[in-house]
Symmetry: C2
Subunit: 133 residues, 2 copies
């Protein structure tokens, strides 16, 4: 994991700040956590602490909800996207040509298995980090 990623995953923000930054209510944020769309860290005293990555993700959730995707759909999307990034990374360190096809197939199979009608999602990069230079 790069230094940059470490920094972006550092839990820094209390829920109040995140509410302002994302324009979501506490209820919404907790609800998304309940449905495992985010997993903010906790302080010793059990308060949520959010990272930049968490905040990006919340913005993405907001976007997808606006587009009519429901919790389950968003969850699937995130899983697929994560797999995709994981594979892209692996691919970066190996040869491209045939792995690509394998991976594509895997991806498609995955989508088909679990109600695979999610692909018209935006895949927009929520990006709160523009808040920092």
């Amino acid at each position: 994991m790069s230094g940059k990623e470490i920094r972006r995953s550092m839990p820094l923000f209390p829920i109040g700040t995140v509410m302002q930054l994302t324009d979501l209510t506490a209820r919404q944020i907790r609800y998304y956590e309940e449905h495992q769309l985010i997993s903010p860290a906790r302080t010793e005293g059990n308060r949520r602490l959010f990272s930049l990555i968490d905040i990006d993700r919340l913005l993405e959730i907001k976007d997808l909800l606006d587009q009519g995707v429901n919790m389950a759909g968003i969850k699937q999307l995130f899983m697929v996207k994560e797999q995709l990034t994981t594979m892209t990374e692996k691919q970066t360190e190996k040869a491209k040509p045939d792995l690509t096809n394998e991976q594509l197939r895997k991806l498609l199979r995955n989508e088909l298995l679990h109600s695979g009608r999610l692909n018209r999602s935006s895949l927009r990069q929520g990006d709160i980090s523009r808040f920092f230079h």
Copy 2:
């Protein structure tokens, strides 16, 4: 003010987070505020909220204290530095040659007026923003 500066001056962090980030106690942070070395924003409920700039400044204060500079000295240093930046900015938008000398004189006069023995300060750029890409 550039967008970047706006972002860096956005009040986001509660004192607990700042304590961890700077390795200062709450007492220390409040004491520095009492002496007007920082002016964190406040929530509606009067809780302090710190910006990246505040945090940078706290790290700088820590450095200077380690080097034996006291509150008053740090305060002077910050004033001089601010004047310097202000002038540098003004200078950027105007001609350089003769203004530079005028400004230098101003700076020196300022230093001489108020116990001008502060110049061996580090002028180190405290930089918490390395925490963000």
